[in-house]
């Protein structure tokens, strides 16, 4: 439980961090809260030559509302800070997911940016951000700032669209007009607490709430099931334009793993994981529907 030797640099500003990334690039790992990286290093499953500690860059911490209503979450904002943030907890999906992440100690240290940059295929936050249609802001010394749609961010297990010289700085969550409901439901792998299957659902009536009108915005994102978190397009297509009745949901969630290579392990084989993705999708959609007019 002792990590392999590594060098250590601390960045006090974003620019310092970018310069260090330029210098050390692929041989270095950024460390923020360290709640995922350090355990891997202690098991010597990760052996970076250098850690660039960005944990004290205060400008990357905190939540603010952008003029257009979007929520901008600094990459270094901890889960605990998010839990204390009314603007965040007002989103039912995040209010569902955040309290279930790990334990108090981890939530005090772990950051939302770290969670998605680490890209654990069973983590909760990636599915939540996928369903929210978030954007990821990244910056590098060479190319400046760019915005990555969350749907293009996760490339595989522990693999993202970030280049070795890039620093994830912010996550932006849109604030669509209309009436929305959302929910996150997950079945926990009892040892790790990660998802065997976790489903984030966002549904909306873009023209505002109407008990008689169909749902015209449906986003369903799944974690723990495939080699990366994904949007379940077949489920979304099947439900868009319906009133999201229980029968419609029941029929649609059968396609929750369409086109996905479902993973099996000692905790859940492919059949169970597939079925649970469906159960969690149904529960998340039903809960989102209940919240549509809240």
């Amino acid at each position: 439980m002792i990590p392999a030797a590594f060098d250590y640099s601390r960045a006090s500003t974003v620019d310092e961090a970018l310069a260090l990334l330029m210098e050390h690039g692929a041989d270095a790992k950024l460390i923020a809260g360290g709640q995922s990286l350090l355990p891997y290093m202690k098991l010597r499953l990760a052996r970076p030559d250098r850690l660039i500690d960005i944990g004290r860059i205060d400008s990357l911490r905190g939540v603010r509302a952008l003029p257009d209503g979007r929520l901008a979450i600094g990459a270094l904002t901890t889960y605990a800070q998010l839990l204390d943030e009314p603007k965040v907890m007002g989103l039912a999906l995040l209010a569902d997911a955040l309290p279930r992440i790990a334990d108090v100690q981890v939530r005090n240290r772990g950051t939302i940016g770290g969670a998605i940059a680490h890209a654990d295929p069973a983590a909760d936050i990636p599915a939540v951000l996928l369903a929210l249609d978030a954007e990821v802001v990244a910056r590098s010394a060479h190319h400046g700032e760019r915005t990555i749609p969350i749907g293009e961010f996760f490339e595989g297990a522990f693999s993202t669209a970030l280049t070795p010289d890039e620093l994830l700085t912010e996550i932006r969550v849109p604030s669509p007009s209309g009436s929305y409901g959302s929910a996150y439901r997950m079945l926990e792998q009892p040892a790790s607490g990660f998802a065997i299957a976790g489903v984030a659902a966002v549904i909306g009536q873009t023209g505002g709430f109407s008990a008689d009108a169909p749902i015209d915005d449906v986003r369903v994102a799944v974690t723990g099931v495939g080699e990366r978190p994904y949007r379940a397009a077949a489920v979304e297509d099947a439900l868009r334009g319906t009133k999201l009745g229980s029968a419609a949901i029941g029929n649609a969630v059968g396609a929750i793993t369409d086109g996905v290579e479902v993973q099996g392990d000692i905790h859940a084989d492919v059949a169970y994981r597939t079925a649970m993705a469906g159960v969690m999708a149904r529960r998340a959609l039903e809960a989102a529907r209940e919240r549509l007019n809240e």
Binding site: P190, S192, I266, Y272, A275, M276, V279
Partner: protein, 826 residues
């Protein structure tokens, strides 16, 4: 030694633990807290293969790494293999083909994690880095991890001395009589039961500091051990060939053990050798959690074929089992004793079953060794017999409480000797069940649980899409294992005695030092011994300090395990206090110019009968006798007495536990709604500590029923190799336990105690497993193996729903059940 006097004092009071001030404020002193001048650090290279020959080991690069002081391989170790001290005794058959580990492997490796080389360096980090630089040329060999498969023709062979990987074939009970009873029975129920392998997980992993003293040729080892005196004996006489008095073993604070720290481990001789090779620099080795999973003992791992036979009126006539016990790649110190003496001999539980026969096959596999884990054999036995009672009740359509009631050993049958029981000690004394009265505990638990309303509760749950189940476990266990003459006579003990020791000194200031041979690992012995000694001597509890766990300065003792400390160790303390009181009486007579026969004792006061004003207190007597200015002829100064106690018999706690669960139809998740435990542990020295022991034990047992499983892949890789994959119970998953008691004092010790360290873990696994299986009955599921994970339950419900059997591994002799048809499926 009157129990009346004890009851008025601090014994029986829920006193907070005196050791907690230091332990919970971070001021405890565990092995890793030991700092010595010149301390060096050891890391061990462990095998990535579960079965392999070692063609060569290249240590040259490692030796040249920064800070490296020494690299040790198996050939460098001049010691014997570790001892195996508890062969399966008694019956005929293949006997004890013993292979035990060496400090480092020399003849290849038998499991994923066996140690093959060690590095000693200036820092722990340097040692960890250098271990990776050791190059081993491996020749991987075929593997087998399943005990039953390992005995079959064609299985990979681990040891040339153990054909078919069989360590022993052992049996107990009346084979022919049991066969006859089963053949003639009205009803026979059969079931294959798997008691899965568990990783014990004490909060503190193991670790040692070894120090050789070149000036005196003596060895000192700080070890996280339950048995420092035994370890000194084993290291001296069996492993290192060093005179016993040249080794000192110290267990500082030990952060949990659950049995894992009873045994002799390869790192003990290794740290001592490492220190000797460095001419006396102390060497520390601290086990990582992953290393703990790979190289400290595991528990359980039985495959059992059960037959239970009886009448349609619910009378049980016979039980027969064949059990394959996985003992790992080599044997741990008492591995074979657990599935034989401590399992098969208590298999009939609290029931009067005329014929019991058990065959046990001990088996080598490519897994880490298996030995005693909290309960050690008794949880396995309880699981078998409590599942058996439920299966039989279901077969004949009888209520599960009623069938238990009908077969209980009746209260007037004690002392009771069970037919496959612990046998006869030398001199003819029987090892019997000391006392019991099982129905009151059952009745109390049933009333608390609302058993009469079970059907209503189930129907209500169904309306919410849940399946509710209730499970009973009317358990019994054997504690305070003893006496020595039985251990010796039956040949089923661990090659050693079973007594305990205590020394008590009353110092000049009246303060009392009690020094004991047992070794606490979280049980609160510093509190409970002090309660007992304070009451015996009539002094305030805070005037008593309890010392333990250092072979220098404590009397020899066999250590703490098997819930034996209160029954055996504390009786030794009471005896030592009795000797102190006898001497104090004689000196009081001298001081008061009275005859010793006329001295009466009341608490701390020693007075002349009929003249209570003519008195001396124990403190006054100690003061005078320590100064000895006026000691009478022939009386030695000082109040200092040692006593040894070999208890006449074991103690047998019992009780009824009830679990109530709900299963989510869609996911298979189990929610443990309520847990009711009515335990009879005899009299209680400290009810608060008793409750704490029950809470922890119940949680561990529930963990086995629902979540925990040590899983080896076919290639012998430990797949549940960290806490990311091995699920320990969490407080938030458990309800507030509803504890209650009955009190049947044990007649075998003056305190009337029975022991409580293991009771919770022994009882709860079966209660929860029975509850889950009860909840699944509407699916026609008769039996599911543990852990009763959501995935396993869901798969079984799916299979049942599709009309297949769904009763994972079950078989039925009479063919009338296990149909798999769903009855109340939504």
């Amino acid at each position: 030694m009157t129990t009346e006097a004890i009851r008025e004092g601090v014994v029986g009071q829920p006193i907070k633990r005196v050791e907690d001030r230091r332990l919970i404020t971070g001021r405890g002193r565990y092995v890793d807290d030991i700092q010595l001048p010149g301390l060096a650090y050891m890391a061990i290279l462990r095998s990535p293969y579960a079965h392999a020959n070692i063609k060569s080991i290249d240590i040259e690069v490692a030796k040249s790494m920064p800070g490296v002081l020494d690299v040790i391989v198996g050939a460098d170790v001049p010691y014997n293999p570790l001892p195996m001290a508890w062969p399966a005794g008694g019956s005929a058959g293949i006997q004890n083909n013993v292979s035990t580990p060496r400090a480092l492997a020399t003849d290849g490796v038998k499991w994923n994690g066996e140690g093959v080389a060690a590095v000693v360096a200036e820092t722990a980090e340097q040692a960890a880095d250098a271990v990776e630089a050791i190059l081993v040329d491996w020749e991987p060999l075929p593997t087998v991890v399943d005990a039953e498969k390992a005995t079959q023709p064609g299985a990979p062979q681990l040891h040339s001395t153990a054909p078919n990987n069989i360590v022993f074939e052992w049996s107990v009970g009346d084979r022919d009589g049991t066969a006859k009873a089963i053949d003639a029975a009205e009803v026979v129920v059969k079931q294959r039961l798997v008691n899965q392998r568990l990783i014990p997980n004490p909060m503190e992993t193991r670790g040692d500091v070894g120090m050789y003293s070149p000036g005196t040729d003596e060895y000192t080892i700080w070890m996280s051990s339950q048995t420092p005196h035994i370890q000194r004996l084993l290291l001296a006489a069996f492993v290192m060939g060093v005179p016993e008095h040249k080794i000192r073993c110290i267990s500082p604070d030990v952060g949990g053990a659950f049995g894992t720290k009873i045994f002799c481990y390869p790192d003990y001789p290794l740290v001592l050798l490492a220190s000797k090779r460095l001419n006396g620099r102390p060497v520390k080795w601290i086990e990582g959690r992953r290393e703990n999973y790979q190289s400290t003992i595991h528990g359980r791992d039985h495959i059992t074929y059960l037959e239970i036979a009886g009448k349609k009126d619910g009378t049980i006539d016979a039980v027969r089992v064949k059990t394959y016990a996985n003992l790992g790649g080599r044997l741990s110190t008492i591995g074979p004793g657990i599935p034989t003496t401590l399992y098969a001999r208590v298999l009939s539980g609290c029931y009067k079953i005329p014929k019991v026969y058990a065959e046990v096959v001990g088996v080598y596999t490519n897994t880490v060794f298996v030995d005693a884990y909290r309960g050690a054999g008794r949880p396995e036995a309880t699981y078998v017999i409590e599942r058996a009672m439920d299966l039989f009740a279901a077969e004949i359509g009888m209520d599960r409480a009623e069938i238990r009631r009908r077969n209980f050993i009746p209260p007037d049958a004690f002392p009771y000797e069970n037919p496959s029981g612990l046998g006869t000690a030398s001199g003819g004394a029987k090892i019997y069940i000391d006392s019991g009265n099982y129905e009151p505990a059952l009745d109390k638990a049933l009333a608390t649980a609302g058993y009469a309303n079970l059907a209503t509760s189930k129907a209500e749950a169904r309306r919410r899409g849940k399946y509710l189940g209730m499970g009973l476990s009317t358990y019994i266990e054997v504690c305070g294992v003893a006496p020595s003459k039985w251990i010796g006579a039956v040949g089923e003990g661990w090659g050693a005695a079973m007594w305990e020791s205590a020394n008590i000194r009353v110092h000049l200031t009246g303060k009392v030092v009690a020094t004991v041979g047992t070794q606490p690992q979280g049980q609160g012995h510093e509190t409970t011994y002090a309660q007992v000694v304070a009451d015996e001597l009539g002094v305030p509890m805070e005037d008593v300090i309890v010392q333990h766990s250092d072979t220098q300065g404590t009397p020899f003792g066999y250590g703490s395990y098997g819930s034996r400390t209160s029954s055996v160790g504390m009786t030794a303390a009471i005896k030592a206090a009795g000797k102190i009181k006898d001497k104090a009486k004689r000196y009081a007579a001298h001081m008061l110019e009275a005859s010793v026969e006329d001295i009466e004792v009341n608490g701390a006061d020693y007075f002349v009968r009929g003249s209570p004003e003519k008195k001396k207190t124990i403190q006054e007597i100690a003061f005078a006798l320590d100064l000895a200015f006026d000691a009478p002829e022939g009386m030695e100064p000082y109040l200092d007495e040692t006593a040894y106690h070999d208890t006449p018999n074991c103690t047998w706690p019992f009780g009824t536990h009830i679990a109530i669960v709900e299963i989510d139809e869609a996911t298979g998740e189990v929610d443990l709604l309520r847990y009711i435990a009515v335990d009879d542990v005899g009299k209680k020295i400290n009810p608060l500590i008793v409750d704490g022991q029950l809470h922890g034990g119940i949680a561990q047992g529930v963990g086995q029923a629902l979540w925990e499983a040590a899983i080896y892949g076919e290639d012998g890789t430990l797949q549940s190799g960290s806490m990311l994959d091995y699920a320990l119970p969490r407080a938030e998953w458990l309800p507030a336990f509803e504890l209650d008691e009955t009190v049947t004092p044990s007649p075998v010790n003056p305190l009337g105690v029975k022991g409580v360290g293991e009771a919770g873990a022994i009882a709860s696994t079966a209660a929860v497993a029975n509850a889950v299986n009860d909840a699944l009955a509407p699916f026609g599921i008769r039996h599911l193996d543990m852990p009763l994970s959501a995935a396993r339950i869901w798969a079984a419900m799916q299979a049942a729903g599709k009309g297949s059997s769904g009763s994972n591994g079950s078989s039925s002799s009479n063919g009338s059940n296990g149909s798999g048809g769903k009855e109340a499926q939504a």
